[in-house]
Amino acid sequence: MTVAEAEARPRRTPPRRDAATSQWGTSGLFTQTVALTGRSLRPYMNAGVIIVTFVEPLVMLLMFAGVLKVLGEAPGMSKEMAYIDGLAPAIMIITAVAAGAQAGNGLINDLRNEVITRFHTLPINRFSVLLARSFADAARSLYQLISVAVLAALIFGFAPPGGILGVLGAILMSLLVGWSMSWIFIMMAALLRNGDVLRMITTLLTFPLLFASNAFVPPESMPTGLRVIAQGNPISYANDAVRSMVAGNVTVTELATTVAVCLALVCVCAPISKRSFRVL
């Protein structure tokens, strides 16, 4: 604009704050979280990202289906691993945990972005920023989990005994596992505030969690040390629960245990994240 244009325009002065607050009232944690989730989702809302996000599970399905088919013919491997009913739940868990890990990166990017600095000068509940972060990545995770189910059905004829309900249950359970794990990464991002260190720890944490588990290889075929780890690995339990969902034989205990562990994780990590979340 030119100065002359700016001068020519009649000026409207911003209304005073007292008027604005009485007129607007106050926003609660819910409204704030909804508004901020929309913001955090924005980077995912572009055609390129949407396509890549869809293709990611496809590549993983095809890759693991190929590898596990070969392994399935090796001695000592259980044949069922090669079947899609065993594979799809494992891919779902991987997908959900990877999306959860992404939340930490997202928070680091936000901190670098300076926008969060402004949020910290607003009279809002700062926890809404973290909640929004976790929900945005949960939404992305949900989209990918649906992709896994649809692609598995289309390519491998995934139609497990648990039926549609079983698959929906598996999706929701994976989503819960990924979302609760995202709080580990949000907590670490809030504590470390350093993207490089966070990425290193993320890799160090996710690889053993995912692969030293029963997701792809039955622990019985592992060497003793690894087997002990795999059997104690929470991901193994989550994977068992999702498999039972798909198989249509999930028990109440299994369901309750998974949900309880997930919620416990959030109850530990979220308050620590909230307390250590600052911008400067």
Binding site: R17, T21, T26, N113, E114, V115, T117, T121, L122, L280
Partner: protein, 318 residues
């Protein structure tokens, strides 16, 4: 003085070994624009961060509208808007979305948020660019959007941290006008800047910071009067007349100096512009022919140079 809206009282801030602020006091009355002037690393941003509840002072007190920034942080946040040194707009969102987001966070309904956003877009001449993502904005547009975003809740106090650094002259003037209008509406403004011209034009009072300490405080005029010198500059027709002219001026009570580079030039510090006539008369009586005559008012530059050099313990260039 009117009600103090922004108060920093003997504020100290240390980051480990670094003392960023060393007992700084600044008081800004309601509806006033106060300038925080200082070179890079003087502590301007740190003080703004303390006053806007982002950092806690190590010692000292900071208050906004009488409310303590540590004890009543959330109440303070209802009264302030911060435009930080680095634009804090969301690049992925459009200009309008950036503003509606803040309005929604502050409790506006969707309709109210849109109305407020459009009002600010209009005010900052961004209506045409309202739907474009902020990543496509020029530096000046981004800055205006940024200032707009800090005004969404119509705060009583605004902090502007180097609001015009890196802007072209046109954008700079546009930002100045916005700031002046805010103060006219009763908003109290604390502005940091490295530009003397900016502080001189906008600010009622200036606090000069150097290495975390206040080295001067006052109106632009007071600062100039306290430190700057009115100076009559004379260039004589011949170099040979300089010694006689200096003697004559000394006799008349002036402490004239000859310049080192151009030896026919003299500098005569004077108290008032009326002394100009006396200088000319003295030189005439000494038969020193004047080739060039000048009179210079002190500038904020003089204030800045002199005081920051004094506090750094280095000699002031003449």
């Amino acid at each position: 003085m009117a009600n103090p809206m922004i108060e920093a009282i003997d504020v100290t801030k240390s980051f480990g070994d670094v003392t960023a602020l060393n007992g700084v006091s600044v008081v800004v009355p309601e509806g006033s624009i106060h300038g925080l002037l200082g070179h890079n690393g003087a502590g301007k941003t740190t003080l703004v961060h303390i006053l806007s509840t982002l950092l806690e002072p190590t010692t000292g007190t900071a208050r906004i509208g009488g409310l303590d920034v540590s004890a009543d942080a959330q109440e303070v946040r209802r009264r302030i808007g911060l435009t930080g040194q680095f634009a804090s707009v969301d690049e992925q969102l459009s200009g309008r979305e950036n503003l509606t987001l803040i309005a929604r966070l502050l409790g506006a309904s969707r309709r109210q948020a849109l109305a407020r956003a459009d009002e600010l877009l209009e005010l900052f001449d961004l209506t045409e660019a309202a739907k474009r993502p902020a990543s496509q904005y020029s530096g000046g547009m981004r800055r205006r959007l940024d200032i707009g975003a800090s005004l969404v809740g119509s705060p009583q106090v605004i902090f502007l941290d180097e609001p015009t650094t890196g802007l072209d002259p046109t954008s700079r003037i546009a930002v100045w006008e916005v700031i002046e209008r805010l103060a006219k509406d009763g908003v109290s403004v604390l502005l940091t800047t490295q530009y003397l011209e900016e502080a001189d034009r906008l600010c009622e009072r200036i606090t000069l910071l150097s290495k975390g300490s206040v080295v001067a405080e006052g109106t632009p005029a007071e600062l100039k009067a306290a430190v700057g010198q009115r100076m009559v500059t004379v260039t004589l027709a011949a170099e040979s007349e300089v010694p006689a002219a200096l003697r004559a001026l000394e006799g008349a009570g002036f402490r004239a100096t000859s310049a080192q580079d151009s030896s026919a030039a003299l500098g005569v510090p004077v108290a008032a512009s009326a002394d100009l006539a006396a200088v000319v008369r003295t030189l005439n009586e000494a038969h020193a022919e004047i080739a060039e005559l000048g009179f210079s008012e002190p500038t904020l530059d003089d204030v800045y140079l002199r005081l920051t050099h004094e506090s750094a313990g280095t000699p002031v260039p003449a």
